[in-house]
Assembly symmetry: C2
Homo-oligomer: 715 residues x 2
């Protein structure tokens, strides 16, 4: 059994090897003519410049927090924190570099049809996918092996959670900063280009087009990658931390086998999921068919096979780890928790698809409402988004219920575990591992997710390089393929965020109790919502996601305004630009620089807020902090679902009309739908996705600093 | 001290007498020419028909719930429930009848200038104000005197809370049904009349104009009145119930003086507030000045004087009731709680004003954003509304903190009280009485609130009766006067709702414990948010306000569509209507009937949901119900503030542009602002205001049925 961490580490190294292999594979492909290479280089340069500057700003923040951790917790935790942050940043940088290499190559391959272009785009995304998964799992296992097994430091499991906090810090700023960049550029490009100047999307005359493409990479590739790095690491950390803090585990050599099995089970699922992802990634091949259904099957084959293999492996793992003693009578219960989590995550994704795809009622109704103008379009989108909250919460509650029951069944009567928290531990452990089921196949899921923006960029390059329209058609077809999987991935991301946050929240409770025991403090720690401190925390916690959403939305608005001014200035001051005279080029680099500066400046306040507020509340009152985290979790989840689905629904209602319904492009309903789409942009790409990280980063920062809160003189 | 309930009853009777006096006073005034009388009669008839049908539907519901209460709780509670419901309905009916008498009379008086018209409109509203306050306080005191003092029934305090549930039931359906009616009519009238047919607002040719005016009365008069009846009664019930359930009080003759003082203090504040309101209402006089500032002073004089008197009376009452023994060392603490509540309520109102008035930044910024179209207008409104949530929650948290501290200081070390919950009781009692401070002057506050729609209707009648434009100018001036007070009243309503719900929530906890003791059940009742049941409840509770908002918004949309079809049909089928030929009249009654039917049908699902969901959850798990109520409270408060302020801000941004800014009426920014205003209509007038009642009705239904939940076999 002791081999599990090493197996997980080896699978992570294999994932990194695979990323290297795909990198060379992508690099071999031709990037096309000079114009295409030029565009690719501009996009890549802009994206890299953004990331470098973002990381510089974030580094200051990471150093400050590392010093705080070293001073208040322990120096080893500060190291692990920095390792988590650096690896997440590295995954983002490498993945995005390759994604920006793969775009022009996909365009070039698209000249020979979708079957040739699909593998290029997928493998470009897969470098991101396997870098994220490999660095997250590998880093986490290294930290575990070094600090828990090797050095056996005091309070070793704080070190593990600090690694998670490092990943969360990067994810928070990447999601917020990238989300602001991508929407500011998008809105700026559309508003001046399409609306004012009347030129098509991705037109080379538009100075903001390159920035828009850069935005896709920093938002949808790097931001999403950092997000899933954090989610994936967090989902493994949560059950490990829960086990460690419940049973006051200190270092591995003291731990009985029964408890060790609980620590190793999540790592084992991660190992199985990684192997399954690697196998799955080789099944994505173009084949010879150009039929869109066949291509879609090819793309999704990898994910589906990986998931089936993970389920089988999880079942085997549960019986292997928990089936050999008397302690756990029903190992099947834990497999049920994991598989239940997987199914609920899938159902959450399908719910999101139902509310945001034009095949179903909600989007059709929004399109219908656009007949009576933008106001009714907005109202219908808001109400559809809010109803999707109800459906998602009910599903999630079901998932929590199943996972709790499964965990309780498996662990609840385990005799060898001991500890007075045993009566609910099993259920909570079930909830924690349910999240891993959703994320075990992160490698291949992120590959498909990153594939989307690569195909999108490839289309942009085809347009800007003025290639034959047939190339654009191929890239558009590729682009639309990724949508289904993306919806499921979103469901996994948001579902696992809630489960992980819940498990981390519970770990926080145990960590506080443990710290109080160690400090010898007689702390009244009760999270009864009837207590006024807890209730005040709950109130403030439920408010924070609203504030965070408002700040990020306003940030997009301000950054977009700067972009709009710059684009207008270029059209005004560069002679011949608007008319498209030969040899007249826009100053794209300046637009990228402006978007970079604006989005980075705007990222500071909401980002800092997410970390500072729980720290301040924690030092004032731990009970209030407990209420605060619970309030932020439930209201943040609701807002995340509302904003993501309302935004997605408006987007697709517009596309549905553009496909020729309700008067088609240029009609009054279309104009109304465009308003909905524009409102939805910051909803679905900036504020909404940031919520997942917000609720987790606040929980994990509280968990890491739990002992400092308890040790503070006024606790 | 035993005189307090009788004093309160007498003050309530005096309020009813005053309502009668104002009624005859209004009735004496001339309603103007035949055309005006005709319009008034049509509006009155439509509004009455709506209320009668609404009450018929609600009666079915009330009977079902009364039977449930009689079967599961006790027959006396069912009686009190019905009394609460009937009195609330009566107050709404009487108040609305007089309001619809006062509109034409205000128009007629406006011919002689604002100084003459102001008292007519105010006294018309005051019939509503004092009917609401008199019937609520009088009914509550009668129930107290009959069931607690007289019959001394078992579990007498459940009877008191059942009265509150009766009021809540009517408020719920009135707010939702009235809110749907008023917006459906408004949107229908505007969309076909102003946009499609190009005729001005309130034009007599528009078939929906009468329905629009009826809507003002059923939504802003009857709906608002039922809401404040419920809030006012609830704020008195909360501290009484909290005291009774904490100390397991059964009937009054067993109760020690110290505890009796706690029961009587809220009644005493209500008594003082009522007397102060009566005095204040006589200070609203037109005077001879027509200067708008002088008129505004005249209108607000009543409220301001009433509040100052209430503060003085509260101080005196605290020392009288709590100052004569050793039990309470710091009676001042309770006065601080009440006055703190008053100040925070005022500050909440001012915050709402800041975010929704065109004198301040947010509305100006929304107007500014309308330069770039409807999308940016919407985004800015959403973010402004969300930021106002942060400001309001921080204020409310401050208020809760002050009230808790004050109550704890006054009661915390009271030696004569006994009971093991004493260590936090004082603070919670402080929170409960803080709500009364805000609502003690309900009589005069509702008078001013109901004054608004009367002045609004008066303007409509002036337009439809084609009077001299100078009359409309006077009524418009009167209309705008009420806005400041309305903002403050809204702050009181939402602030008191949160405080009352919190106190009722705590009473629910004590009621469950008491019921478990009586039943002899060893119930594990813990509202620890870390427990999975509580957490699931919290999740579902936080979701419900989103679902409720979505359902009510969709309801408005569907009802408005029916109205739009009807108005279009009339313009199409009635020859000469659009052209305004003499003698051609629209079929207004049919529009009213359509809006009535549609809104009543749409009211059922969200209304029933608010009562059924907590009952279902309560019978499954009381712990989950505890979490559910807490989640619904915090997320409902946030959504209520968000929707009310975003809606108000859009409304005033449009008006700001219409006043000549950013291009004025008819410009592109104006069109964008109209989109914002239309989106905001259901936000601020339907979904937003319903939230206050939603969170209270769910808490009070849980409180009333607490013993049934405990007695159920699977508890």
């Amino acid at each position: 059994m002791g081999a599990v961490p090493y197996l997980a580490l080896i699978s992570a190294l294999a994932a990194l090897g695979l990323a290297g292999f795909f990198y060379t594979d992508v690099k071999k492909a031709s990037p096309g003519n000079d114009r295409m290479v030029h565009l690719m280089t501009e996009i890549q340069g802009g994206a890299r410049a953004f990331l470098r500057q973002e990381y510089t700003w974030v580094a200051v923040f990471v150093v400050v927090l590392a010093v705080l951790i070293a001073a208040l917790i322990q120096i080893e935790a500060a190291f692990a924190y920095i390792i988590g942050a650096v690896l997440s940043a590295l995954a983002g940088y490498v993945g995005m570099t390759v994604a920006t290499m793969a775009n022009a190559r996909t365009t070039e391959a698209a000249k020979d049809g979708p079957a040739k272009a699909l593998p290029v785009a997928f493998r470009g995304g897969a470098v991101m996918g396997f870098s994220v998964a490999g660095l997250a799992l590998g880093g986490l296992m290294l930290v575990y092996i070094i600090f828990v097994l090797g050095l056996q430091v005091d309070d070793a499991f704080s070190v593990i959670t600090a690694f998670g906090l490092g990943a969360s810090s990067i994810a928070l700023f990447s999601r917020v900063g990238g989300g602001i960049f991508t929407k500011a550029a998008d809105v700026g490009a559309d508003l001046v280009g399409k609306v004012e100047a009347g030129i098509p999307e991705d037109d080379p005359r538009n100075p903001a087009t390159i920035a828009d493409n850069v935005g896709d990479n920093v938002g949808d590739v790097a931001g999403m990658g950092a997000d899933l790095f954090e989610s994936y690491a967090g989902s493994i950390i949560a059950p490990v931390a829960l086990t460690a803090f419940t049973f006051s585990l200190v270092a591995e050599n003291d731990i009985a086998d029964d408890r060790l099995a609980l620590l190793f089970f999540p790592m084992f699922i991660a190992f199985i999921g990684m192997i399954a992802s690697i196998i799955g990634s080789f099944l994505v091949r173009g084949g010879n068919s150009t039929d869109s259904q066949a291509l879609s099957r090819a793309l999704h084959m990898g994910t589906n096979v990986a998931m089936v293999l993970t389920v089988v492996g999880t079942l085997a793992g549960a019986f292997w780890l928990f089936g050999d003693g008397d302690s756990f009578e029903n190992p099947l219960g834990l497999a049920i928790a994991v598989i239940g989590g997987l199914i609920v995550g899938w159902a959450l994704g399908k719910t999101a698809e139902y509310y945001t795809s034009d095949h179903f009622g909600p989007v059709k109704q929004i399109a219908q409402q656009s007949e009576t103008g933008p106001a009714t379009t907005i109202i219908k989108g808001v109400s559809a988004g809010m109803i999707s909250v109800a459906a998602s919460v009910i599903l999630l509650a079901l998932g929590i219920g199943i996972a709790y029951w499964g965990g309780q069944w498996a662990v609840g009567d385990a005799t060898g575990l001991g500890g007075d928290s045993l009566d609910t531990f099993g259920g909570l452990y079930g909830i924690a591992v349910a999240a891993i089921g959703m994320l075990a196949t992160t490698g291949v899921v992120v590959s498909v997710d990153a594939y989307g923006p690569i195909a999108d960029n490839a289309g942009g390059i085809a347009e800007m390089a003025e290639l034959d329209p047939s190339v654009r058609e191929v890239t558009d077809a590729l682009d639309s393929l990724g949508n289904t999987t993306a919806a499921v991935a979103k469901g996994f991301a948001v579902g696992s965020a809630a489960l992980t946050a819940l498990a981390l929240f519970k770990s926080f409770e145990f960590a506080v109790k443990e710290a109080a025991r160690v400090e010898g403090k007689d702390l009244t720690f009760a999270l009864d919502v009837g207590e006024v401190e807890v209730f005040l925390g709950l109130f403030i916690g439920a408010m924070l996601p609203f504030l965070f959403a408002a700040l990020t939305m306003d940030a997009v608005g301000r950054a977009a305004n700067k972009m709009i001014e710059e684009v207008r200035r270029q059209f005004r001051e560069i002679p011949g630009l608007r008319e498209g005279e030969a040899g007249v080029n826009p100053d794209s680099a300046r637009c990228v620089a402006i978007s970079t500066q604006a989005s980075l400046r705007e990222m500071i306040v909401p980002g800092a807020l997410a970390i500072v507020v729980p720290l301040v509340i924690g030092f004032i009152s731990i009970n209030a902090l407990g209420g605060f985290l619970a309030g932020a979790l439930v209201s943040g989840f609701a807002l995340a679902i509302f904003m993501a689905n309302a935004g997605g629904a408006w987007d697709n209602a517009k596309k549905y009309i553009e496909a020729g319904n309700h008067g088609g492009k240029g009609s009054e309903p279309h104009k109304a739908a465009v308003v909905g789409d524009t409102v939805g942009d910051p909803f679905k790409d900036t504020s909404g996705p940031s919520m997942n990280i917000l609720i987790k980063v606040m929980t994990i920062v509280s968990l890491v600093f739990a002992s400092a809160f308890v040790a503070s003189p006024w606790a």
